[in-house]
Symmetry: C2
Subunit: 195 residues, 2 copies
């Protein structure tokens, strides 16, 4: 009993299921059948909508990136002043929505994919550039020409903190991660009690 207009619904379900399954498996060794099953359809239908497994992975990656971007934008909208902007980015990066096992696992795998799939590399590069430029807007008024270096460092630190979270057992601890990043930040800011 086919209802019309299923395409967007099915695609959304598949994207979601892809992320969940990658998170569960911990790697890209996930079969289309598994994903389709979790999304409540046959593997043939999954192929029907996305042509290939790779397209499915890329769609999932786009989705994660979109969510992350939206969260950053939302946080930035509320931030007042340069330092608050930077803090907002860090808080958003480690918010429970992004900093959860599933999503972290997905990130790690996208990184892997970026090594071989050009589209994936492009997507990740877009995210890098956006993060960098967002950080720079906040950092430049604070530290001028050191901003570039600190933005790079912060970017790497964020990635590193994600990476380490993957290995920990127990639930992700976004708070500790933010604290680390903030410590890095304040170490590079002109201290209040200093010349």
């Amino acid at each position: 009993m086919p209802k019309l207009g299923m395409e967007p619904i099915r695609k959304a379900a598949l994207v979601k299921a892809t992320i969940v399954e990658i998170g569960r498996a911990g790697c890209l060794d996930v079969t289309v059948s598994q994903i389709a099953k979790r999304a409540g359809m046959s593997s043939a239908l999954a192929h029907h909508y996305f042509g290939s497994k790779e397209e499915m992975f890329l769609a999932a990656m786009r989705h994660v990136l979109t969510l992350y971007g939206a969260e950053i934008r939302g946080a930035l909208a509320l931030a007042e002043g340069p330092e608050q902007r930077v803090r907002a980015i860090l808080a958003a990066s480690f918010s429970p929505a992004n900093f959860r096992r599933e999503a972290i696992g997905a990130w790690l795998n996208f990184w892997l994919m970026a090594q071989t799939v050009p589209d994936a590399k492009r997507l990740l590069a877009v995210y890098h550039r956006r993060l960098r430029s967002n950080l720079l807007v906040g950092l430049r008024p604070l530290i001028g020409d050191q901003a570039e270096a600190v933005a790079n460092g912060l970017g790497a630190l964020i990635d590193g903190l994600y990476l380490r979270e993957v290995l920990k057992s127990g639930p992700p601890d976004g708070r500790a991660a933010v604290a680390s990043a903030l410590a890095y930040l304040s170490a590079h800011l002109p201290q209040a009690g200093k010349k």
Copy 2:
């Protein structure tokens, strides 16, 4: 014409070939045949010596970790005083031997493996602990109770810098990476011109 005592030679060749092939493929989708071929033998022989593909991967991981550990030890032996010790660790981490595409790609994949293969997780945990404790020995005399936090941050930063290198095009730039890490370090050290 079988010469005796081939086992260690064959195993070493396979380990080396495994790292190369993982680096080339950018992921763990590497067949035993590819590895065996690169190492100059049949896939059957590879299985003969290492029982399974997973064992091969683990042996490769152990090898990379061993090399890295040796380099750290060597650098530490020459270091005088706490700060030099920390600097030595950073320099060794980004030395050309470790900070090259092949090895970096291997690292990324080991990370992935650590999510699902308990032995891999264990190995990576050992490396984490050693790095941390090495850093702490140097940091504690410098900054006392802040040492823990800075060691964690430095560890994450190192990983993050590795991660970012994977995506860059062009040859790895260990110098820039060390510079980033050193900047982080000095930002957390009591300044020279300060009490």
